[in-house]
């Protein structure tokens, strides 16, 4: 039963990854007009030789399925093509931009998800008409504040209140850990707030749900203290839906990071992909989108597996 569940999930994963890679592969072929001419036109003069050369280099002179097969097998071996203008391997450019984005998303997830548990648990203890309305309005406001606006306003505040503080740009952690973290404070704040709002509301309602269950009543009847019941019994069960939402949040974080990187001038994947779009560097656009989406899919697969391990009921469905 268990093996069948895991194999089924693995087959789903393979299907989704193949589908995603095919769509990303199709991107360059879907550009209206001739992608090669557009790519050249954005940067140099168009000559028939250059068109033929770039077309051959991108493999566009072969049949669609052959092209996909070559592209996919290349990608699996870590060859995502070469950047049209610099001639550098695309993976090299992605590798350089990977760390800032990873750090930004990881820290935001840590802060948003980490704070949402105590906050949600705390909010679950307060009930009453005004609290209900306050929690709801607060959560929705947190969810709908544009992260880039929050970033811009926080830059404005810091430069008014603490003139001379450098908050923009990125310093590698290995170079200066303190400066690295200092510059991460505002971007992480801007990016994590919607997650905090969403997850703490979820933790609260899951907690309230769990508090009404029989096992909580039993624990109380056995004489367990209120604090113990809240944190030991109710919270543990409330965490199950929480974990799924954390996986889904990764999609928001990866998208949001693109915008927040732009606000704070962080040289991550978001800046890379936007730059590539403006100079029509399609191989780099494709590769960046593929890497980000594949990692999102894999994270969610891992979350699903974790979910099944924690809650055996899932495996039986």
């Amino acid at each position: 039963m268990r093996a069948k569940f895991f194999l089924g999930r693995l087959a789903d994963l393979a299907f989704v990854l193949i589908g995603v890679s095919f769509l990303v592969f199709l991107m360059i072929r879907l550009v209206p007009g001739d992608a090669v001419t557009i790519m050249l036109g954005a940067n140099t003069e168009i000559t028939p030789e250059r068109v033929a050369e770039l077309r051959a280099r991108l493999g566009l002179d072969q049949s669609l399925l052959v092209q996909y097969w070559l592209w996919l097998t290349g990608a699996l071996q870590g060859d995502l093509g070469t950047s049209v203008w610099t001639g550098r391997a695309v993976t090299e450019e992605i590798g350089a931009a990977l760390w800032p984005t990873l750090e930004l998303t990881f820290l935001s997830l840590l802060v948003g998800a980490g704070l949402s548990i105590p906050l949600g648990a705390f909010m679950a203890q307060a009930r009453g008409n005004w609290t209900e309305v306050g929690v709801r309005v607060g959560a929705i406001a947190g969810l709908t504040i544009p992260s880039f606006w929050l970033g811009i306003v926080s830059i404005l505040l810091v430069s008014k209140l603490l003139p001379g503080t450098s908050v923009l740009g990125y310093v590698p952690f290995t170079e200066d850990p303190l400066d690295n973290l200092r510059r991460m404070v505002l971007p992480v704040f801007a990016l994590s707030l919607p997650i905090l709002a969403n997850l703490s509301r979820l933790v609260r309602s899951a907690m309230l749900d769990a508090m009404g269950q029989d096992y909580v009543r039993t624990a109380r009847a056995k004489g367990a203290g209120r604090r113990r019941v809240v944190y030991k019994h109710a919270l543990r069960n409330a965490l199950i839906p929480f974990i799924t939402s954390v996986g889904v949040s990764m999609g928001y974080l990866l998208g949001g990071a693109i915008v927040v990187e732009q606000v704070f001038a962080i040289p991550g994947l978001g800046r890379l992909v936007l730059g590539a779009i403006s100079e029509r560097n399609y191989p780099l656009v494709q590769a960046t989108i593929l890497v980000m989406t594949a990692s999102f899919v894999l994270v969610n697969f891992a979350v699903d597996m974790l979910y099944a391990v924690i809650d055996p009921r899932v495996r039986r469905r």
């Binding site: 309305v133 959560a139 606006w149 811009i152 693109i258």
Partner: protein
């Protein structure tokens, strides 16, 4: 009884917030606002004052007029996108639930693949193909939301298709199309209403992000996201375009989200959130 009134007060408030902002957008040309394109260079980068209630931008254009016209751009883009996604995605969800079998499996698998992309990233990919403008942004958001609507409606539609009244309709010889349109669809109305409102709220943020990144509306179109990205360059000299454009995005998105949330409670008590 108490909670019924409380929910309805919230619903009334949310409705008022949405109607007010939509009305501003619809009636923008007849509100006696200043010309959102007129550049009065001597008046540029002013804070709020008697002439320009919310100040002026780096080209001396009235921020209030640009924000209200920005509502038009934003709502037009997002409504087009969400309605298109509802039409395509909703039809897919209902057809998949009605016919089941191989059609359901293949189509929903395809939806899974599209759903696997992070939302903003997929929108950016679509725009990379189509070129950056408001129309591409609307289409991009529609592509992103199609699988969401398909998934949201397929589940409840499955339950309805199994119900006795659908079986009854089939027994008296109603056609497939008739059953789907006059029996399945009306029963999905409350879910459609709630989700359309919630997804509009999210679409407003996506559209603002896209135009902020230069991938949506292009200058000189009055656009909230664009105002933020232009205002950012003059932040210390003239903070008002960036600050007020951001607040406008927040109020618009907040209104639709609160509306969806309150509608969910009042339309279907079974779906009531535990908060």
């Amino acid at each position: 009884m108490m909670s019924y009134f409380r929910n309805n007060r919230l619903l009334a408030f949310a409705t008022a917030l949405v109607v007010f902002q939509v009305a501003l957008a619809v009636f923008a040309p007849v509100l006696g606002l200043q010309d959102p394109f007129a550049q009065v260079i001597v008046q540029r980068m002013k804070g709020p004052n008697a002439l320009n209630w919310l100040g002026t931008d780096q080209l001396g254009r009235d921020v209030l007029a640009r924000i209200i016209h920005g509502y038009r751009t934003s709502l037009l883009t997002c409504l087009t996108a969400v309605l298109l996604a509802l039409l395509v995605g909703g039809s897919i969800g209902i057809l998949a639930a009605y016919y089941r079998g191989w059609f359901d499996r293949i189509v929903m698998r395809l939806m899974d693949v599209i759903f696997a992309f992070p939302i903003l990233l997929l929108a950016i990919a679509v725009i990379a193909i189509l070129g950056a403008n408001s129309f591409s942004a609307a289409l991009a958001i529609a592509v992103v939301y199609t699988p969401i609507f398909a998934r949201l409606l397929r589940g409840p539609a499955l339950v309805i298709c199994e119900s006795e009244y659908v079986e009854g309709a089939r027994a008296i010889g109603a056609s497939d199309l008739r059953i789907m349109v006059s029996h399945v669809l009306p029963n999905l109305a409350s879910i459609v209403l709630v989700q359309t409102s919630l997804l509009l709220s999210a679409a407003i943020l996506v559209e603002a992000s896209l135009s902020f990144l230069g991938l949506g509306a292009q200058p000189p179109t009055p656009s909230l996201g664009l105002m933020l990205s232009e205002g950012r360059n003059f932040l210390l000299l003239a903070p008002s375009p960036a600050i007020f454009a951001g607040l406008a995005i927040l109020f618009l998105s907040f209104g639709f989200n609160l509306l969806g949330d309150a509608l969910r409670d009042s339309l279907d008590p079974r779906l009531k959130a535990a908060t």
